[in-house]
Symmetry: C2
Subunit: 347 residues, 2 copies
DNA sequence: CAATTTTATGTACGCGCGTACATTTTCTCA
DNA sequence: TGAGAAAATGTACGCGCGTACATAAAATTG
């Protein structure tokens, strides 16, 4: 059976194709009797407008693009982080009758975001896991200059005015470290993420501020770096273990690294009573599963996704002349420290 | 600045539009000099073919659809399960130059899968979380009859011959329960998922077989049901606790429920030494984070995603006359029991 | 009831590209 | 060098729909 198109419907209903279009789109005045006839004909033929042709004619794809970061080994969705954000975006896309188009960065070079719009692949897009590199900046700048509806999540760029939906990682980290200090720990190691991510740098700020406020001098030898994977946390265990006697507590930039580090230390034979206190970040599912349960900083990822999606879809409805989309959005949602056993002072 | 189209490129290069098309698509014989001129013109104008128009003209969207299940509260991506599968699909889609289109089931009725193809929204699609209900069956049957490239993951339908990429949950469950029996446990409770999912029924089969083989009679009062969420595991704790004296071990249909149940029991004040042994399912990240680490059945979700994607993309390349796509695929990948502390007999 | 407005429908075209077919140019070989 | 084959390019149209504009039908008014 061949798929019926507008033509057949028009024929069967005894009207012109334009009338069919109008009935189906609810455009213009239509006599009730005509509407009935058309609807019936469409029904009989099982007609559904071709979405591709509609998109082409309307010059709108109906897609909301989501740019995913490239992570080695491709298990990109594995992180709690992305899962939550995507769920948020997805729920709003559904509401707005948009489809979600997932776009994967290629391992090598920078992605040409502007091209997504020029080729009409998407009507709007949300960028996850952007890095602070010149190529990236340039690519995003093009979107801004072209007034395209886009939004970054959880990454901001110093000196640029981009649309960003962020969380307050300076404050979150500050609270985390302050908590450790209040617990009586003073030699607090920091397992941070790569500095190309603004949230890594933000965490560093918060970490430093808390130390400073407590009159603790920054000890560079207590700074470690991972890539947010559990494996990298595990790997960091070796370096941490080497100076374990000088470490009271560890603040990690996400839960996975914190847990990896814990596991690493244990696998190296560090006894439980010598384990430092721990605070993770993200408050992922894993945090409350840990032994001991992991104190962590809750980040409203789901909400970040919702708000970013609402923002870009909102821009889409504005007239080009409207000024709203020209004012770049920069919202910072608050984080919240969730205290569990891992960070409490043992007596 | 307006976006250049093929026409401008042709004009600038002094050739016809058709030639521009040919050069860009590498079709037909082209004089090298002409190719240069066209490429240069395209470069100068920053020309990129309009993907929407291309799709329309080619009558192929370039999209690989992924149907996501509707889960209440919308945190659909949260499960390890989907993360892994999506990563697998995503990696193959990327290889095949396809984009991933995420499609969300609406809460209520059945989704009209056939419509995805009729409207040309997708060229192929992969269906996750299908339930064994008549509407669902009918919808999938339409795809089969229309010889559309589709594939179900982790769900099969008795009596139908659909394209399915599955894992062997009968065997996986059998191994899990056998292991518990070998550890000396005999009164083994089973916290299963909803029976609308074939994998739930498969697990039940494996569970029964293992018991039978060991000469243990099935005790219906040891069967519990959750919905795969941690919360449902937590909720089941109440019922389980009521007859805790008669339970040596628990086999749960996924790790989240296992962990939820453990947490529930603890929160009800069940002392550690009275906790039953545990075996989970999926071998998610959470399994090795638990206290004690959770024995679990590893399911190759990532591979399921890869294979399903390869399958549908493969069907796409076949000529309609080719017979391969008519033979419904039904592959079952093996699972593997990963033994950790939670299931070991305490002396 | 004719002149006008309002409502309903039809006609015609463009969206940007792929591609079958027609035409022109270049090459080959006698 | 000229005829025929091969290579290169151009011409023309369709894909299915939205929609501006033209037209016809119905309603309104004086």
């Amino acid at each position: 059976m061949i798929i019926a198109s507008r033509k057949e419907v028009a024929q069967l209903a005894g009207v012109s194709e334009a009338t069919v279009s109008r009935v189906l789109n609810g455009v213009g005045p239509i006599r009730e009797e005509t509407r009935q006839r058309v609807m019936e004909a469409a029904e009989r033929l099982g007609y559904t407008p071709n979405a591709l042709a509609q998109s082409f004619a309307r010059r709108r794809s109906g897609n909301l693009g989501v740019v995913m970061p490239y992570l080695p080994k491709a298990r990109i969705f594995s992180a709690y982080y992305f899962s939550e954000i995507l769920s948020g975006i997805g729920s709003k896309a559904l509401e707005g009758k948009y489809d979600l188009l997932m776009l994967f960065r290629e391992p090598g070079g920078t992605m040409d975001y502007l091209n997504l719009f020029r080729t009409q692949k998407v009507d709007a897009c949300i960028i996850l896991g952007a890095k602070d590199e010149e190529g990236e900046r340039a690519a995003i700048r093009q979107l801004s200059e072209g007034r395209h509806p886009y939004c970054l999540i959880n990454q901001h760029f110093e000196g640029e005015s981009f649309h960003v939906m962020d969380a307050d990682h300076v404050e979150g980290s500050y609270e985390a470290v302050k908590h450790l200090i209040e617990q009586g720990f003073r030699r607090i190691a920091f397992l941070n993420g790569p500095p190309e991510y603004s949230n890594s740098r933000d965490r560093m700020s918060g970490y430093c501020r808390a130390l400073e406020e407590a009159g603790i001098e920054l000890d560079e030898s207590l700074l470690f770096e991972g890539n947010f994977s559990r494996k990298s946390g595990f790997a960091a265990a070796e370096k941490v273990a080497a100076r374990l006697k000088g470490i009271d507590a560890v603040f990690a930039a996400n839960d996975r690294m914190a847990i990896g580090l814990q596991q690493g230390l244990r696998s190296m034979g560090v006894p439980e009573e010598e384990m430092p206190a721990f605070v993770g970040y993200d408050d992922s599912d894993a945090a409350e599963l840990g032994a001991p349960p992991l104190t962590s900083v809750r980040v409203p990822f789901y909400e970040l996704g919702c708000l970013a999606a609402e923002h870009v879809l909102g821009m889409l409805e504005q007239t080009p002349s409207s000024a709203v989309s020209r004012i770049p959005l920069h919202r910072k949602l608050p984080t919240r420290l969730v205290i569990r056993a891992s960070s409490l002072k043992r007596k």
